[in-house]
Subunit: 303 residues, 2 copies
């Protein structure tokens, strides 16, 4: 009989949704040595990897599984991550900021504070160009929303070109060509060796001065010093960082007070137990039948 | 030969787009006594109505034509307004604010200022309920976007029920039933006798305390004192007013400093000459052929 260990700060809620899902034969246990399946948060699970003596499958509740794929850890089990559920939330987040900039939401607040009737014209998304650094499940969702708002969409990927909402694909070494002329650059890259400091001084220089950078992937993709310099010198209009390296950000990190830099403290996509249990339930039925699971992570690639 | 007078602060841009449209036989003139067609802004046109001795048709560059339909003015011509072009812009505006509230954009800025790692959970639009006061061309566009984001949509109209994106319609006298349980109430009503102070104390009381009011229609629809009281007493989470009565707002009006009230100074939908000339060109061809024009305003109804 399959035994499930839940490793999450939302454990109670998970137990409830798992019960409602009525999964056949599944028993929820609390002893790491007893379980063959683990559902939970990668960082917490990593610390108990040596104790999971019967481990066969880990279902991550997040998309990012860098803590489990980092070198030195065991890889003798199937690792699946959560996909398809964060695209919608990150789309809400990204378009919230895109529209806030176009509609000058922050400037209007300031004008109201000084009692100035500020009818400066707003911008609009239609016709603007969005560049996606990474076009996986989340990037595709962003591209669909960009099309809904009448935007042009460019995608930068290693090789893949399978999202129909992307108007133009770019691949290495064309990253500066990709960046040139973008109004918005949104980074949705996972943390891997290959994504370290991809957003560097050269890339920031290639963006127009009115461009805005949004990072909802992982903090390692951004060269912090280069970003602070670009914003301080007005080479870039703004940056919105949901992710940083490290998290939380130390109290004296320059990001806290860099002009036109907006921090959102890794809140862009909450992992809702209700959503994750749907993924888990689908995979659990495949597991019972001995079939390949969905959303398997490649330990080498890291995603 | 049809003679066109352009009455707009964007006159130069209009002349250019009109030229590019290559409209047969059309001559652009500057003498009000000479023209049979006027393209422009209702308030400015109103002041020259007595001088338009050959007037046959006015094409407004705005949706709102209250200055031309107010009692006492001549009605011996065809009045058409601009439709179909503002829905998209107002949708960007409204969803900018909806997402700003869900994603706690203002709170995160404050947290950053005090260097607090504020990972309070954000909300999401999916599953939330949007109420539309008025479901015309603009309301329908808003409803479509609400569906894109997975929201429930209620529509309040006098009688019509022709937008497929509205899940539930309400009509007078069911306005309080309409308001009950809404997360967002968006007012897109034109200024008419029938819309005066529709958003009054009773309606505001019927909204949940976490609800947000957005007015992109006309300022007359809101009872100012009732709104100030509701916000001051925390009966309503926030209000975003693009329109007020009067505009500009006098320096000592309470709206400037009411808590959780956001003013945006009638910027939600700019009238782009490029968009308006498309409407004008289509109507001009109908005019030449002696056919009924599109988007004719009913002087009695006022829209």
């Amino acid at each position: 009989m399959p035994k499930l260990l839940i490793v999450s700060h939302d454990a109670d809620e998970y137990v409830q949704w798992i019960r409602e899902a009525n999964l056949p034969h599944l028993e929820v246990v609390t002893d790491p040595a007893e379980c063959d399946i683990v559902l939970g948060e990668p960082r917490r699970i990593r610390d108990m990897l040596p104790h999971l003596t019967r481990l066969k499958w880990i279902q991550s509740v997040y998309a990012g599984v860098e803590y489990l794929v980092e070198p030195g850890h065991r890889r003798d089990y199937i690792l699946t991550n959560a996909r398809g559920v964060f695209g919608e939330l990150m789309t809400e987040y990204v378009f919230g900021y895109l529209l806030a900039f176009e509609k000058k939401i922050f400037e209007r607040i300031h004008s109201q504070q000084v009692r100035r009737w500020d009818n400066t014209e707003s911008g609009r998304l239609r016709g603007k160009t969005l560049g996606l650094l990474g076009v996986g499940s989340i990037g595709s969702h962003l591209a669909a929303a960009a099309k809904f708002f009448g935007m042009q969409v460019r995608g930068f990927t290693r090789a893949s070109e399978d999202c129909s909402h992307v108007d133009a694909y770019f691949h290495p070494p064309d990253i500066l060509k990709f960046a040139s002329g973008l109004d918005y650059l949104v980074c949705v890259l996972p943390r891997t060796e290959g994504t370290n400091r991809l957003v560097d001084a050269a890339l920031l220089d290639a963006l127009p001065r009115h461009a805005v950078l949004i990072n909802v992937g992982r903090g390692n993709a951004v060269d912090d010093s280069a970003l602070v310099e670009a914003l301080t010198q007005g080479k870039l209009a703004a940056a919105v960082l949901d992710v940083t390296d490290p998290e939380p950000l130390p109290p004296h990190h320059p990001f806290w007070a860099t002009p036109n830099l907006y921090l959102t403290f890794h809140t862009s996509a909450r992992s809702y137990p209700e959503d994750i249990v749907k993924i888990f339930a689908e995979n659990y039925r495949l597991y019972l039948e001995g079939k390949p699971l969905k959303y398997q992570v490649d330990f080498e690639k890291g995603y």
